[in-house]
Structure formats: structure tokens, C-alpha cells
């Protein structure tokens, strides 16, 4: 048994509510939100998972419940191996999860990013502000209902807006998104091009 799998078995004996999670690569487990901090602390202190490699989130689309899941990737630097933990967020419109900044300071910016992109509130986070979009941006761009092109939004600086009249617009997709075709082919053919080439900036989309 690999070291991460052994750690997971030991963990499940201690926390019976932790369940195994289907995974194509590293051992993974689902953790209830109430036990999250205790489980992560146990992994860090007793099993040597001293490094939080990644913290991200999944939106399972509108209508799903629980809708948002936070994912933690832990790495042990002593006995090399990754472990993935997932916890469902409480609340589907105003999702929330406990902050792990107290365990790994590295979680600080990751949680800010997850908050910015998905709107997940991390309770106990010391400074939960947006990190990529500007303060006061009204949307959470990685939510499933948000279009890739964006939606029209005023820019944050009123002086500049008064001077230029600029605003954040829905980007013209012009037949996009622009993707490379899969499979083996000549380099010139494999160049990224619009999925639907029947329209572009100059030629309107056929009805």
C-alpha cells in the first residue's frame, strides 16, 4: 500500500465520516465540512502532509446540490505522495467553507482566488478580498452560468470612465472559441481557429 493510501486508511479509522472518493490518480476522500479542519490538522501533524499544493473548487452547475465543492491537494515532503480531499460547501447560492489559512498560510491567496472566481466564502479567512478581478466586480466568473465572453460591467475608476466612456464589455466571440483541432495533422491546419467560421467581425452570424 502506498504511503498516501495508508494515511487515508488510518484517517478513516479515526474519522468514520470520511469516505473514499473515486479518483483516477492519487488517493482521494470526501470530508464533511464540519470535520474538515480536524481532518486536515490530523493529516498535517500526524501523517506529515506538510505542504498544501493546491486549493481549488468545482461548480457542479445550477440545480445541483451541493453545488460547490472545495478541493485540497496535499503533499507530504517526508514520504512523497499526494492526497486529495474534497468537501462540499454549505449553501448553494451563498456557498461557504471553513478557511484553512490557520493550518497552511499558503491557503490565503488560493482561498481568495476561489472566492473571486466562485464566490465561496471561507469563514475565518483573515483578508477575504478578490484577488484577480477588481474589488466591487459584481460576478464570479468561473460559475457555470457566467459566459466566457463576460457581461457588460462598468469599470471601477469613475474619472477614467468619465474621460473615455470605456466599460467592460462582452467580448466579441466572432465564431469562437478559438481551438486547435485534435488529432494528427499538418502544423498549418492545426492552428487554432474559430469553431464556427460562418461568421466573424466583418460578417454577421447567419440566422
Amino acid at each position: 500500500m502506498s504511503a498516501p493510501a495508508a494515511a487515508l486508511t488510518a484517517l478513516r479509522e479515526k474519522f468514520p465520516r470520511v469516505t473514499e472518493r473515486a479518483s483516477a490518480d492519487h488517493p482521494a476522500a470526501d470530508v464533511p465540512a464540519e470535520e474538515l479542519l480536524a481532518v486536515l490538522r490530523c493529516l498535517r501533524d500526524e501523517h506529515g502532509y506538510d505542504l498544501l499544493a493546491d486549493l481549488t473548487a468545482v461548480d457542479w452547475a445550477e440545480g445541483a446540490s451541493p453545488r460547490f465543492t472545495v478541493i485540497y491537494h496535499l503533499l507530504s515532503t517526508a514520504t512523497p505522495g499526494y492526497l486529495r480531499l474534497a468537501t462540499a460547501c454549505a449553501g448553494d447560492t451563498e456557498p461557504a467553507a471553513p478557511s484553512v489559512t490557520g493550518l497552511w498560510p499558503a491557503a490565503n491567496w488560493h482561498e481568495r482566488e476561489a472566492y473571486d472566481m466562485f464566490g465561496i466564502r471561507f469563514t475565518g479567512h483573515p483578508d477575504l478580498r478578490r484577488i484577480l478581478m477588481w474589488d466591487g466586480y459584481p460576478h464570479h466568473p468561473l460559475r457555470k452560468e457566467f459566459p466566457l465572453a463576460g457581461v457588460e460591467t462598468p469599470l471601477p475608476d469613475p474619472e477614467i470612465v468619465a474621460e473615455t466612456g470605456a466599460k467592460a464589455i462582452a467580448a466579441p466571440m466572432a465564431g469562437g472559441p478559438f481551438v486547435a483541432s485534435p488529432g494528427e495533422m499538418k502544423m498549418t491546419e492545426a492552428e487554432p481557429r474559430a469553431k464556427d467560421e460562418s461568421w466573424n467581425e466583418a460578417k454577421d452570424k447567419p440566422e
Partner: protein, 169 residues
């Protein structure tokens, strides 16, 4: 006077220490050959901008090697890279802080049109917030293309009615 333009005619035997020319020609001659850039390097294009400044391509040949990181001292903003909406207001603010006369080169697909970033976060062309004089195509453009843009800008500046503008300012 070694110059390709016919604005200056000087014959020391006839004119002695006096050169007769037009004010526009003198002002534009000075402006075109000391166009200090404001390097607005925001993404990968900035690497090519750096290459343009270094010895192989040597933008100093055109008098534009003095990259000024203070907008007060620069004449030409080279927007090299992807302009996000978050950065856009800062770009405009820096442009506003530059002293007249000032010009803008939009370097690369991103600065010119948003490039491949048709997304919620990217300004779809820097001309939405600042007036652009020269657009450079490419992702990224070769340093030669940027030099060409600079030469085109110089040609454009040479045609400006600078004296008239100065007097009416």
C-alpha cells in the same frame, strides 16, 4: 547637414553661421530623434520589447532607447501585452500623466484588439481607453516589426504642424 529631407539647405559660403529652415522642421526633427518610450510591458510582448532594446536590434539607433519608467519623462507609450480591465484604468492614468506631446504604439495582437483573449477579463483593444498612433500585428511581433512601427511613428510625427500647435496651446 546630412539629412534625407529637403527642409534644410545650408551652404556655408553663402550663409555663414546662419541656417534657414521652418520651425516645424526643427521641432519635429528633435522630437522624432529623441522619442523616449514608456515601456508598458504587461505580458509576453514585453520580452520582445526588451529584445528590441538590447544590442542585437538596438532601438538606440532610432533615439528611443531611453526607457523611462516615469510617465513624466516619456513621449511614447509602447503598450506591449495583454491589457486586463483591472489594468486598463492604470494604463489610462499613466497616459494622462505623460507630458504633451505624446504618442502610443499598440504592440501585438493583445494590445491592438484583445488578441486571442476573448474573455471577460481582457480589454478588447487598448484603443478603447487611449488614442493609438501605430498598431503592430503579431503574437508577439518581431523586434523588427516594432522598429518599423517606431519608424512609421517618426514619419507621422515629421508631418505634424508642431509650431502651430505650440503657439495655440
Amino acid at each position: 547637414m546630412v539629412t534625407a529631407n529637403n527642409e534644410l539647405a545650408y551652404n556655408s559660403k553663402i550663409e555663414g553661421d546662419v541656417i534657414v529652415t521652418r520651425a516645424d522642421a526643427v521641432i519635429n526633427w528633435i522630437r522624432t530623434n529623441s522619442m523616449w518610450p514608456m515601456p508598458m510591458g504587461l505580458a509576453c510582448c514585453a520580452i520582445e520589447l526588451m529584445a528590441t532594446a538590447s544590442s542585437r536590434f538596438d532601438i538606440a539607433r532610432f533615439g528611443a532607447e531611453v526607457m523611462r519608467f516615469s510617465p513624466r519623462q516619456s513621449d511614447c507609450m509602447i503598450v506591449a501585452g495583454t491589457v486586463t480591465y483591472k489594468m486598463a484604468t492604470a494604463v489610462r492614468r499613466i497616459y494622462d500623466q505623460m507630458a504633451e506631446p505624446k504618442w502610443v504604439i499598440a504592440m501585438g495582437a493583445c494590445a491592438s484588439s484583445g488578441g486571442m483573449y476573448r474573455s471577460y477579463a481582457t480589454l478588447q483593444g487598448v484603443d478603447r481607453i487611449v488614442p493609438v498612433d501605430v498598431y503592430v500585428s503579431g503574437c508577439p511581433p518581431r523586434p523588427e516589426a516594432l522598429l518599423d512601427a517606431l519608424m512609421r511613428l517618426q514619419t507621422k510625427v515629421k508631418r505634424e504642424r508642431s509650431a502651430e500647435k505650440l503657439l495655440s496651446a
